[in-house]
């Protein structure tokens, strides 16, 4: 069983990023494949490495990076949603003449085609959001 997971909500908003994280972990524990996690709309805010929650709170962004490193996950951030919200990797930052980048490790910026491909290739597409 192959999954693509879509996240439309930012971290620390309601519960979507937490639900999606717990669901993704459970999919992996079950031995199923996670083909891709796609961050769309405000979900792109899950990808900034500048996130600094209080020490006694969960770090939603690092948690995704760590899960990606442990399971070789493909975390894809929608480029158009990311540009609007100031999420950029070094290349995007330079291309748009910005002075900084903030994409967290394990994430990559790409287009909506990656979501469509995920939907076609995966057996299930599960959407979390607001």
């Amino acid at each position: 069983m192959k999954y693509t997971i879509q996240i439309n909500e930012g971290p620390y908003t309601h519960q979507a990023s937490d639900s999606a994280y717990n669901f993704t972990k459970a999919v992996l524990e079950k031995g199923y494949e996670v083909f891709r996690v796609f961050f769309y709309h405000d979900g792109v805010n899950n990808a900034t490495r500048l996130t600094t929650p209080p020490q006694d709170d969960r770090n939603v962004v690092n948690r995704w990076s760590e899960l990606a490193a442990a399971h070789d996950l493909d975390l894809v951030v929608c480029v158009a949603a990311a540009q609007r919200r100031g999420i950029a990797d070094a290349e995007e930052s330079q291309r748009n003449g910005k002075d900084a980048d903030n994409l967290a490790p394990g994430f990559r910026i790409s287009g909506l085609g990656q979501l469509i491909e995920g939907g076609i290739i995966s057996d299930r597409l599960v959407v979390f959001g607001d």
């Binding site: 069983m1 999954y3 439309n8 309601h14 519960q15 979507a16 639900s19 717990n22 669901f23 972990k25 459970a26 999919v27 524990e29 079950k30 199923y32 299930r124 597409l125 599960v126 959407v127 979390f128 959001g129 607001d130």
Partner: protein
Amino acid sequence: MLHIVNKSPFDKNSLESCLSCASDGSAVLLYEDGVYGAIKGSTYAEKLQSAMSNITVYALEPDVKARGIADKVIDGIKLVDYTGFVELTADNEVVNSWL
């Protein structure tokens, strides 16, 4: 088909829309604030209970417990953990999120 609902029926009408569309034999999973729809004796309970003659309703146990309503869940609603959530998505070919 599996329908997943994450909003309270006292806040949004997504559960209402879901129940009006869900065909006989389908499954509905309440999670996040959606679990408030599972409370026994609420003004919404009767509507959900009547729908339960044709559909199976599940609620995500960690979200139920986080809201302190574990002992108030309508009889017949099945509690599942995240593994159960994954199993429901695997058992149903189509998963629809009512966002």
